[in-house]
Amino acid sequence: MSAHVIIRVQRADFDLASEYQRLRQSTTAVGAVVTFCGLVRDLENETAIDSLSLQHYPGMTESLLEDIVAQAEQRWRLIGVTLIHRVGQLSPSDQIVFVGVASEHRKDAFEAAEYLMDYLKTRATFWKKIDQGGQQYWVDSKDSDQLALDRWQRDD
Protein backbone atom coordinates (compact mmCIF):
# COMPACT_ATOMS: atom_id res chain seq x y z
CA MET A 1 0.00 0.00 0.00
CA SER A 2 1.39 3.36 -1.02
CA ALA A 3 0.02 6.48 0.63
CA HIS A 4 -1.25 9.56 -1.22
CA VAL A 5 1.67 11.94 -0.62
CA ILE A 6 1.74 15.70 -1.14
CA ILE A 7 4.89 17.72 -0.38
CA ARG A 8 5.06 21.46 -0.94
CA VAL A 9 7.58 24.18 -0.09
CA GLN A 10 5.95 27.52 -0.79
CA ARG A 11 5.84 31.21 0.10
CA ALA A 12 2.02 31.25 0.14
CA ASP A 13 -0.04 30.49 3.22
CA PHE A 14 -1.96 27.19 3.39
CA ASP A 15 -5.52 26.37 4.33
CA LEU A 16 -5.95 23.70 6.99
CA ALA A 17 -9.56 23.02 6.02
CA SER A 18 -8.84 22.14 2.41
CA GLU A 19 -5.79 20.06 3.32
CA TYR A 20 -7.90 18.17 5.88
CA GLN A 21 -10.73 17.57 3.41
CA ARG A 22 -8.30 16.10 0.88
CA LEU A 23 -6.79 13.77 3.50
CA ARG A 24 -10.18 12.78 4.81
CA GLN A 25 -11.36 11.83 1.35
CA SER A 26 -8.22 9.85 0.40
CA THR A 27 -10.26 6.63 0.60
CA THR A 28 -13.36 5.46 2.47
CA ALA A 29 -11.10 3.42 4.78
CA VAL A 30 -9.85 6.57 6.57
CA GLY A 31 -10.75 6.41 10.25
CA ALA A 32 -8.30 8.95 11.67
CA VAL A 33 -6.81 12.24 10.51
CA VAL A 34 -4.15 13.99 12.57
CA THR A 35 -2.99 17.47 11.63
CA PHE A 36 -0.18 19.55 13.03
CA CYS A 37 0.21 23.27 12.37
CA GLY A 38 3.30 25.13 13.48
CA LEU A 39 2.84 28.87 14.03
CA VAL A 40 5.34 31.71 14.44
CA ARG A 41 5.54 32.33 18.19
CA ASP A 42 5.47 35.90 19.42
CA LEU A 43 8.57 35.47 21.60
CA GLU A 44 12.10 34.16 21.04
CA ASN A 45 14.34 34.05 24.12
CA GLU A 46 11.50 35.78 25.99
CA THR A 47 11.65 38.86 23.76
CA ALA A 48 9.00 39.87 21.22
CA ILE A 49 9.96 39.28 17.59
CA ASP A 50 9.06 41.50 14.64
CA SER A 51 9.32 38.91 11.92
CA LEU A 52 10.92 35.69 10.84
CA SER A 53 12.43 34.77 7.51
CA LEU A 54 12.83 31.23 6.33
CA GLN A 55 15.50 30.20 3.87
CA HIS A 56 15.79 26.72 2.37
CA TYR A 57 17.86 24.74 -0.12
CA PRO A 58 15.53 24.34 -3.11
CA GLY A 59 15.57 20.84 -4.52
CA MET A 60 17.40 19.30 -1.60
CA THR A 61 14.62 20.23 0.83
CA GLU A 62 11.95 18.55 -1.27
CA SER A 63 13.98 15.38 -1.71
CA LEU A 64 14.74 15.21 2.04
CA LEU A 65 11.04 15.62 2.79
CA GLU A 66 10.25 12.80 0.36
CA ASP A 67 12.77 10.59 2.18
CA ILE A 68 11.23 11.42 5.55
CA VAL A 69 7.74 10.55 4.32
CA ALA A 70 9.01 7.31 2.76
CA GLN A 71 10.52 6.32 6.12
CA ALA A 72 7.23 7.02 7.90
CA GLU A 73 5.40 4.90 5.32
CA GLN A 74 7.67 1.99 6.17
CA ARG A 75 6.91 2.23 9.89
CA TRP A 76 3.14 2.87 9.87
CA ARG A 77 0.08 2.04 7.77
CA LEU A 78 -0.70 5.39 6.19
CA ILE A 79 -3.39 6.32 3.67
CA GLY A 80 -2.47 9.96 3.07
CA VAL A 81 0.38 12.28 4.03
CA THR A 82 0.61 16.02 3.35
CA LEU A 83 3.64 18.09 4.26
CA ILE A 84 3.73 21.83 3.59
CA HIS A 85 6.49 24.19 4.69
CA ARG A 86 6.51 27.91 4.06
CA VAL A 87 9.59 30.00 3.20
CA GLY A 88 10.16 33.75 3.00
CA GLN A 89 9.12 36.39 5.48
CA LEU A 90 6.56 35.57 8.18
CA SER A 91 5.00 37.46 11.09
CA PRO A 92 4.02 36.33 14.60
CA SER A 93 1.02 33.95 14.54
CA ASP A 94 1.55 33.10 10.86
CA GLN A 95 1.39 29.46 9.88
CA ILE A 96 4.84 27.97 9.10
CA VAL A 97 4.38 24.26 8.67
CA PHE A 98 1.60 21.74 8.15
CA VAL A 99 1.73 17.99 8.61
CA GLY A 100 -1.40 15.94 7.98
CA VAL A 101 -1.71 12.17 8.16
CA ALA A 102 -4.73 10.00 7.36
CA SER A 103 -4.84 6.35 8.39
CA GLU A 104 -7.30 3.64 9.34
CA HIS A 105 -6.43 3.75 13.04
CA ARG A 106 -5.45 6.67 15.24
CA LYS A 107 -2.15 5.30 16.52
CA ASP A 108 -0.60 5.30 13.04
CA ALA A 109 -1.73 8.85 12.32
CA PHE A 110 -0.57 10.26 15.67
CA GLU A 111 2.82 8.59 15.65
CA ALA A 112 3.58 9.26 12.00
CA ALA A 113 2.67 12.95 12.33
CA GLU A 114 4.92 13.42 15.35
CA TYR A 115 7.73 11.46 13.67
CA LEU A 116 7.46 13.58 10.51
CA MET A 117 7.75 16.77 12.55
CA ASP A 118 10.69 15.47 14.60
CA TYR A 119 12.55 14.49 11.44
CA LEU A 120 11.64 17.65 9.57
CA LYS A 121 12.94 19.78 12.48
CA THR A 122 16.35 18.12 12.53
CA ARG A 123 16.90 17.03 8.93
CA ALA A 124 15.12 19.24 6.41
CA THR A 125 17.22 22.10 5.00
CA PHE A 126 15.41 25.13 6.40
CA TRP A 127 16.99 28.00 8.31
CA LYS A 128 15.22 30.67 10.34
CA LYS A 129 16.39 34.25 10.76
CA ILE A 130 14.69 36.45 13.32
CA ASP A 131 14.20 40.19 13.24
CA GLN A 132 13.90 41.51 16.76
CA GLY A 133 13.80 45.29 17.10
CA GLY A 134 15.88 45.81 13.95
CA GLN A 135 18.47 43.22 15.01
CA GLN A 136 18.65 40.22 12.70
CA TYR A 137 20.08 36.89 13.77
CA TRP A 138 19.94 33.24 12.77
CA VAL A 139 18.13 30.90 15.14
CA ASP A 140 20.22 28.26 16.89
CA SER A 141 19.17 24.62 16.65
CA LYS A 142 17.68 23.14 19.79
CA ASP A 143 18.93 20.19 21.79
CA SER A 144 15.31 19.28 22.50
CA ASP A 145 14.77 18.65 18.78
CA GLN A 146 17.70 16.27 18.62
CA LEU A 147 16.40 14.46 21.70
CA ALA A 148 12.94 14.16 20.13
CA LEU A 149 14.55 12.50 17.13
CA ASP A 150 16.72 10.16 19.19
CA ARG A 151 13.58 8.64 20.68
CA TRP A 152 12.51 7.26 17.27
CA GLN A 153 15.98 5.91 16.57
CA ARG A 154 16.01 3.94 19.82
CA ASP A 155 12.84 2.23 18.57
CA ASP A 156 14.51 1.17 15.30
Binding site: Y57, H85, K121, A124, T125, W127
Partner: protein, 82 residues
Amino acid sequence: MIRLLFFGRLGDVAAGVATSIEASEGLTPSAVREALAVDYPSLAAELSQPQVLVSIDQCIADWDQPIADGAELAFLPPVTGG
Protein backbone atom coordinates in the same frame (compact mmCIF):
# COMPACT_ATOMS: atom_id res chain seq x y z
CA MET B 1 34.00 24.27 -11.97
CA ILE B 2 32.36 23.44 -8.67
CA ARG B 3 29.46 25.58 -7.52
CA LEU B 4 29.65 26.71 -3.87
CA LEU B 5 26.61 27.37 -1.68
CA PHE B 6 26.52 28.64 1.90
CA PHE B 7 23.27 28.50 3.87
CA GLY B 8 21.91 30.13 7.03
CA ARG B 9 24.50 31.98 9.11
CA LEU B 10 27.25 30.69 6.81
CA GLY B 11 25.73 32.75 4.00
CA ASP B 12 26.30 35.94 6.01
CA VAL B 13 29.89 34.99 6.85
CA ALA B 14 30.55 34.05 3.21
CA ALA B 15 29.34 37.39 1.82
CA GLY B 16 31.72 38.33 -1.01
CA VAL B 17 33.21 34.85 -1.35
CA ALA B 18 33.37 33.42 -4.88
CA THR B 19 30.38 31.28 -5.80
CA SER B 20 32.51 28.69 -7.58
CA ILE B 21 35.91 27.07 -7.42
CA GLU B 22 38.09 25.34 -10.00
CA ALA B 23 37.64 21.54 -10.04
CA SER B 24 40.74 19.40 -9.58
CA GLU B 25 41.59 15.71 -9.29
CA GLY B 26 40.60 14.34 -5.84
CA LEU B 27 39.22 17.64 -4.55
CA THR B 28 37.19 17.14 -1.34
CA PRO B 29 35.03 19.42 0.84
CA SER B 30 37.88 19.51 3.39
CA ALA B 31 40.27 20.68 0.70
CA VAL B 32 37.82 23.37 -0.42
CA ARG B 33 37.58 24.57 3.19
CA GLU B 34 41.39 24.72 3.40
CA ALA B 35 41.57 26.66 0.14
CA LEU B 36 38.99 29.16 1.49
CA ALA B 37 41.01 29.54 4.73
CA VAL B 38 43.75 31.37 2.82
CA ASP B 39 41.60 34.40 2.00
CA TYR B 40 38.69 33.91 4.42
CA PRO B 41 39.98 32.59 7.74
CA SER B 42 36.82 33.49 9.69
CA LEU B 43 34.63 31.64 7.16
CA ALA B 44 36.91 28.61 7.33
CA ALA B 45 36.65 28.68 11.13
CA GLU B 46 32.83 28.67 10.89
CA LEU B 47 32.97 25.80 8.39
CA SER B 48 35.10 23.83 10.86
CA GLN B 49 32.36 23.83 13.51
CA PRO B 50 31.49 20.17 14.13
CA GLN B 51 27.75 20.67 13.44
CA VAL B 52 28.36 21.97 9.90
CA LEU B 53 27.43 19.40 7.25
CA VAL B 54 28.29 19.32 3.57
CA SER B 55 26.28 18.10 0.63
CA ILE B 56 27.45 17.24 -2.85
CA ASP B 57 24.76 17.53 -5.53
CA GLN B 58 22.15 17.83 -2.78
CA CYS B 59 23.10 14.63 -0.95
CA ILE B 60 24.72 14.77 2.48
CA ALA B 61 28.41 13.89 1.92
CA ASP B 62 31.58 13.15 3.87
CA TRP B 63 34.22 15.85 4.21
CA ASP B 64 36.71 13.63 2.42
CA GLN B 65 34.44 12.57 -0.43
CA PRO B 66 35.79 13.48 -3.91
CA ILE B 67 33.85 16.17 -5.77
CA ALA B 68 33.29 15.67 -9.49
CA ASP B 69 33.69 18.56 -11.92
CA GLY B 70 30.35 20.35 -12.38
CA ALA B 71 29.06 19.35 -8.94
CA GLU B 72 27.29 21.56 -6.45
CA LEU B 73 28.92 21.74 -3.00
CA ALA B 74 26.87 23.19 -0.16
CA PHE B 75 27.81 24.03 3.42
CA LEU B 76 24.90 23.51 5.81
CA PRO B 77 24.71 24.79 9.40
CA PRO B 78 22.30 22.98 11.76
CA VAL B 79 18.79 23.24 10.33
CA THR B 80 16.10 25.22 12.17
CA GLY B 81 12.89 24.75 10.20
CA GLY B 82 9.46 23.65 11.33
